[in-house]
């Protein structure tokens, strides 16, 4: 569904991605693990069009995406839930959801109702400003906002970051639920334990390259966790 080939993205002269290739199959939850600074967020930002790659391509359903602006990539069916959520703080929960549906020409009120039904805490706070929500609620809002564009592929960048364990459980339950409803999910996670429980396939990234890929059972979990947090080269 999503194919990334030999992707190189640089900040000035420093290459954060040094030729990344990977694939996300339709209908799966695919997880990207790796230590801080491995380039996971850079990869997500490059797929979403916020960063422009120096070399390589990103293609989605057979169409080349690299070079398109982020709003054009949303139009093609990819939505990113960015790291640190980035909700619109001075807008209400409801307005955040409407902003997520900006490109849709059809009537989306039913979708808002459906999403608020799925996230009851957002429903209670639908008239509240997003900036006043708790971290977990903001994360749910960021996910719901991304879903308002009705993406075929949902990218999520560390949705559990800075959240309490119970809230993390809740977020992962939502991820599993979204997948059951037919959304393909490509997830960056630091929480390798939780990620391996839901993922069908995972990639390990270290220092700008994919160093391992496989099914969750193909590498012992403690080895994955060791490499995801520390990187293999540093032991």
């Amino acid at each position: 569904m999503l194919r990334v080939q030999e992707l190189v993205t640089a900040y000035g002269k420093i290459e954060a991605l040094k030729g990344v290739s990977l694939e996300v199959a339709q209908g799966t939850i695919t997880c990207l693990l790796g230590p801080n600074g491995a380039g996971k967020t850079t990869l997500m930002m490059t797929i979403a069009g916020v960063l422009k790659p120096k070399l390589g391509t990103v293609s989605f359903l057979g169409e080349k995406l690299s070079g398109l602006a982020p709003h054009a990539i949303v139009a093609r069916g990819i939505a990113l839930v960015p790291e640190n959520r980035l909700v619109f703080p001075s807008m209400t929960v409801l307005e955040n959801l409407r902003a997520g549906a900006f490109q849709r020409k059809d009537d989306f009120d039913a979708d808002i109702e459906r999403l608020l039904g799925r996230f009851p805490r957002l429903k209670e706070r639908s008239a509240q400003l997003a900036g006043t929500l708790s971290g977990g609620e903001q994360q749910m809002l960021a996910v719901a906002r991304a879903l308002m564009s009705r993406p075929k592929l949902l990218l999520m960048d560390e949705p559990s970051l800075g959240l309490a364990p119970l809230v993390v459980e809740e977020i992962f339950a939502i991820i599993a639920e979204l997948h059951r409803d037919g959304t393909t999910i490509f997830l960056v996670e630091q929480n390798a334990h939780m990620a391996l429980k839901v993922a069908h396939r995972f990639f390990l990234m270290e220092q700008g390259r994919v160093s391992f890929s496989g099914d969750p059972g193909s590498l012992a979990e403690d080895e994955v966790i060791r490499r995801a947090y520390l990187g293999s080269s540093r032991n």
Partner: protein
Amino acid sequence: MALIDIFQNTLDGLTAGASYALLGVGFTLIFGVLRRANLSYGPAIMLGAYAATWVSLHTGAGLLVLFLVAVLATVLAGSYVERLCFAPHRRGPAAAAMVASFAIWMQLEELATLLLPRHLYAFPALYEGGALHFGPFSLRVESLLMLLAALAVCFVGWKALYATRFGVAVRAVIDDPRAAELSGISVGAISLRVFALASAIGGLTGFLIVASHEQVTPMLGMWSTLKGMLAMMLGGLGSLPGAVVGGLALGLIEAHSQWYLGPQFRDFIAYFLLFALLAARPPWMNTRSAY
């Protein structure tokens, strides 16, 4: 009677403040969406007023035509500024766009003086009759129109920003441009439309100002930029209702300090207040979006 003076000054201050509020709203729209100060906002308004004056001198057209010319020319000048100064510097340092807008300011002033070389031109009066009198108070009809226009723009602007799809997108861009792009909103397209909208408000304001003063000079450009920026800053940088309050407050401060301290203190007090505000940075002042 001191009380009558206070009341009349307040009335005068509010009518001057209404034009500042309009300029402040235009400035804030642009600053909010682009996070860049557009020094050429006033000069674009001045050019619009000059275009209307030129049409008036050459054709003797009526006020409605002059109004349309002023708005159209301001929107054109504003879009020119956007394409030249702001579209290329959307990601670069804020100072680059600001300096570029200063260069365009000079260009627009040159253009105005080429169009109409004398320093001062008469502009048809908005209203020929005298002032309205309510007991001891008087109010010029032009001022009343300015107040009404400010109220109408605020009402329509409020509705547009808080009750339409376009408004949701504009506020999303103001809140977080990157998250707006990721939500499918084209920041470039929204910026250009906001620029055009702010320029239209500027054109309306410029027309009302020159038609109620019945004259136009190239100084209108700098005057509009300064008053608009002051209103925006007094209102807390980046808040539209704040800009309206800031503009009205500026008008009131000017009217009262002129009456009690003398005309030479009029601008001094306003700028001193701005300095004090910037130095003290009260919590309602939004310094997050400035640079």
